[in-house]
């Protein structure tokens, strides 16, 4: 008997603590109500993200390649100190949380799983426990109990890896926090700290490397990009019988258009690419895409690694300068827009070679709405009569940027474009849209198939809201402006028992409604 006891007491290695395992998942039944679940300890402890083993790529990103480094504690604290000194957000959010609990039922992962560590405050406390222990006088002097702090152990590190990769950095908690504490900032710092000691998550870092090394998230070499776009072009010409062009690397064009590479062939993304091309064609403005800047998305946002984000962003501005364009317009994507609109100017500005008359860069919805208002686009709403449409505000757009130069343009402009294309539009319940929008459940590095179980749980609040408008208004089209939302929702709709075709981009609607021919405006 004593021997079995010994076997059980065998210490678990760190690799076992963060090991990814395939977990069966099942969509919960939809009721139309978003209820706060009771706390279920460790409910999502077993949902881990896969570790990255690609040594070349990890080396290229500047992280240790051999897994957890031997002197990791030292390096961990050194990096954490650096984060605290470089980011006021991180330092301040460590200090000022009063644990009031306003955020506890705001996270879609908590609502989906009931795991207490998925409450934003508890997630941040994972870092605060280390902060208090090593970076505050009381933590150094008084015991762990009194200051509620924690020593740096492998168990703690495993908790970090688990729960900081169960945060989609959607910032919903920061809306409700009386001090604006943004868990995304803390998650980003935590991920960078883990990267620096050799714990690198696979999905997002594989993509950060591809975007830097090859030029886009899908890892398509320039010829492949050209082929894919030519294929879209042929398709479009067959569809419409018109000579619609998608120019590539054309110097002297008026507009450089960047979009997430998923738009080149993923479904339903590609439908929006048709829409963009049709809008440019009908507007008669010369435009081009670039093989060098063949990616709009920037996964560098997801960790506090300033240079990696800057390198990816730099491609767009280098290409725009080289091609001699006057404007940069970006397609539908959430985090891409946060970086493009909120960070570009800081990262790679100022953009004095571009036309200051237009916002730099310009969102495709701003661009399209502008044309609609000028009368340069004619839209036939009846073409979309089979659809009753609702709109999902992407988290990074809704809570991270402005559109049209006004504080709430990011809510109004996409809706205005939709309303110009369809007759039947309804909004989801008030507490699930605009600034209170729920994340699709797969943002910021959680879109990998390894994360499917947590993605299904995280999508629950959004699906409940969809069910409400489905039942009350017969909604059969969810309009999106984010490549990640499109990928996630086209997977979640079938999982929750709805047809996949009910998901699509705003420019998919534009594409169906657009009427070609002589222009009335301008």
């Amino acid at each position: 008997m004593a021997e079995t006891g010994k076997l059980e007491a065998k210490p678990v290695s760190f690799e076992d603590l963060i090991k990814w395992e395939k977990i069966k998942y099942e969509a919960p039944e939809l009721t139309g109500k978003i209820e706060t679940p009771c706390i279920k300890e460790n409910a999502s402890l077993s949902y881990k993200a896969q570790l990255y083993k690609g040594k070349d790529a990890i080396a290229r990103l500047g992280y240790p390649t051999e897994g957890l480094i031997p002197n990791w504690k030292e390096k961990f604290l050194e990096k954490m100190d650096e984060m605290l000194k470089k980011y006021r957000s991180v330092r301040l959010f460590m200090d000022i949380c009063v644990r009031c609990g306003a955020c506890t039922n705001k996270c879609h992962y908590y609502l989906g799983t009931g795991d207490p560590n998925n409450m934003p405050v508890a997630r941040a406390e994972l870092m605060r426990k280390i902060y208090r222990r090593y970076f505050t006088p009381q933590g150094k002097l008084l015991g762990k109990k009194l200051t509620n702090s924690e020593d740096l152990t492998e168990e703690m590190l495993a908790l970090w890896y688990t729960y900081f990769y169960q945060c989609s950095e959607c910032r919903r908690c920061s809306v409700y926090c009386p001090y604006g504490i943004d868990t995304a900032e803390i998650t980003m710092a935590a991920r960078e700290i883990m990267n620096s000691i050799g714990i690198v998550q696979k999905y997002m870092h594989e993509i950060v490397d591809k975007a830097q090394y090859i030029g886009n998230n899908l890892g398509m070499i320039p010829d492949a990009v050209r082929n894919a776009i030519e294929f879209v072009e042929t398709d479009l010409q067959e569809q419409t019988g018109l000579d619609i062009k998608i120019p590539i690397d054309q110097k002297g064009a008026e507009i450089l258009f960047v979009t997430p590479s998923a738009d080149f062939f993923a479904s339903p993304h590609i439908e929006s690419l048709y829409g963009y091309a049709k809008v440019f064609h009908q507007a008669g403005i010369s435009w081009t895409m670039s093989t060098y800047a063949s990616e709009g998305g920037n996964f560098g946002l997801f960790v506090h690694n300033y240079n990696n984000m800057k390198i990816i962003n730099k491609r767009i501005w280098d290409a725009s300068r080289e091609l001699g364009v006057k404007r940069v317009v970006g397609g539908e994507c959430g985090h891409m827009w946060r970086v493009l609109s909120s960070y570009s100017n800081t990262l790679n500005g100022p953009f004095d070679w571009l036309n200051p008359k237009y916002s730099i860069p310009q969102h495709i919805c701003e661009f399209t709405l502008d044309l609609i208002n000028k009368g340069a686009l004619k839209l036939d709403k009846s073409a979309n009569d089979e659809f009753t449409v609702t709109f999902h505000d992407s988290c990074q757009v809704a809570r991270g940027m402005e559109m049209g130069g006004t504080a709430s343009g990011q809510y109004e402009i996409p809706r205005a474009v939709i309303k110009a294309c369809v007759n039947k539009f309804v909004d989801m319940p008030e507490n699930t849209i605009k600034e209170k929008t729920f994340c699709c459940g797969a943002g910021q590095g959680l879109l990998g198939d390894d994360m499917l179980p947590i993605r299904v749980k995280g999508a629950m609040p959004r699906m409940q809201a969809v069910k409400v408008v489905k039942d009350s208004h017969g909604v059969n089209f969810l309009a999106l402006i984010c490549a990640i939302c499109k990928a996630q929702m086209s997977k979640m709709f079938p999982t929750y028992g709805y047809p996949m075709e009910e998901v699509g981009g705003i420019h998919q609607l534009v594409s169906r409604a657009i009427v070609f021919g002589a222009k009335e405006g301008i």
Partner: protein
Amino acid sequence: MAVLQNLFSFTLTVLAYASFAIFAAGVLYKIYILKKTPVPLKIPTTPQSTNVSGVAARMAGDVLFFKSLSKGETESALWTAGWFFHLGFFLVVLRHLRYFTNPIPSWVMLVQDLGIFAGIVMFFAILALFFRRYTNERVKHITTFADLTILIIIFLIAATGLTMKYMIRPDIVEVKAYIFSLIFLHPSKAPMNPVFILHFISVMALLIYFPFSKLIHAVGYFLSPTRNQANNPRTKRHLNPWADEAWDKMVNGPRPIDSKTNEPYQPWSQEQWRKKWLKQEN
């Protein structure tokens, strides 16, 4: 007995000066550290106004009416208890100015009754906050020892304050004389009313604890980048003070060798990318 009393009085006086010094220095140091820490990027939580006056209006709403907190559907109890507690605390502090001024300004005399009422409100608000920490499962889960410590200190302050008002009244003239002796740096003997001493000590404890604890949210809020930045990144360039240094460090630092080109890998170099992927064209 007199010796013991003198010794105790002396200890209180030292505590008073020490706590005030720790409070002032601690808070100033915290503000200095936070101010010094750069904000590399624009991260306001939108919808955020695109101009400074709009940002100020939002922050005023947050500070005066807890606007962000009131957005939650389940936070009405917390909002009520929290808002009345803070307002009560503020009015009580105003009322106490009568012990620190001579002659007493007329407006301080006007808020006396209100201040007493605010003290009672504050007392019950703390009880409500206490109650909430234990009845709400999620809040109970995140409550730490430090959260309770602060609640207990403030509860003691309110309870002893109300006791002095309604039950065991100290000699107010003596108390004010002591406070003035502290202000003018020739401390006299402290009043030996036990309730007053407990009140006095708990206030000192709060002052000492302030800069090291979550109470720093009182000044921290104003430095919060998700609230105090204008939402105008496309029109006004925000600068990151450490961007160039970090970039130079990476560019000039050791780079891994690219197996395809056998050169140090430079992801920021367009020429290298061309050489690698556009061979067909060359």
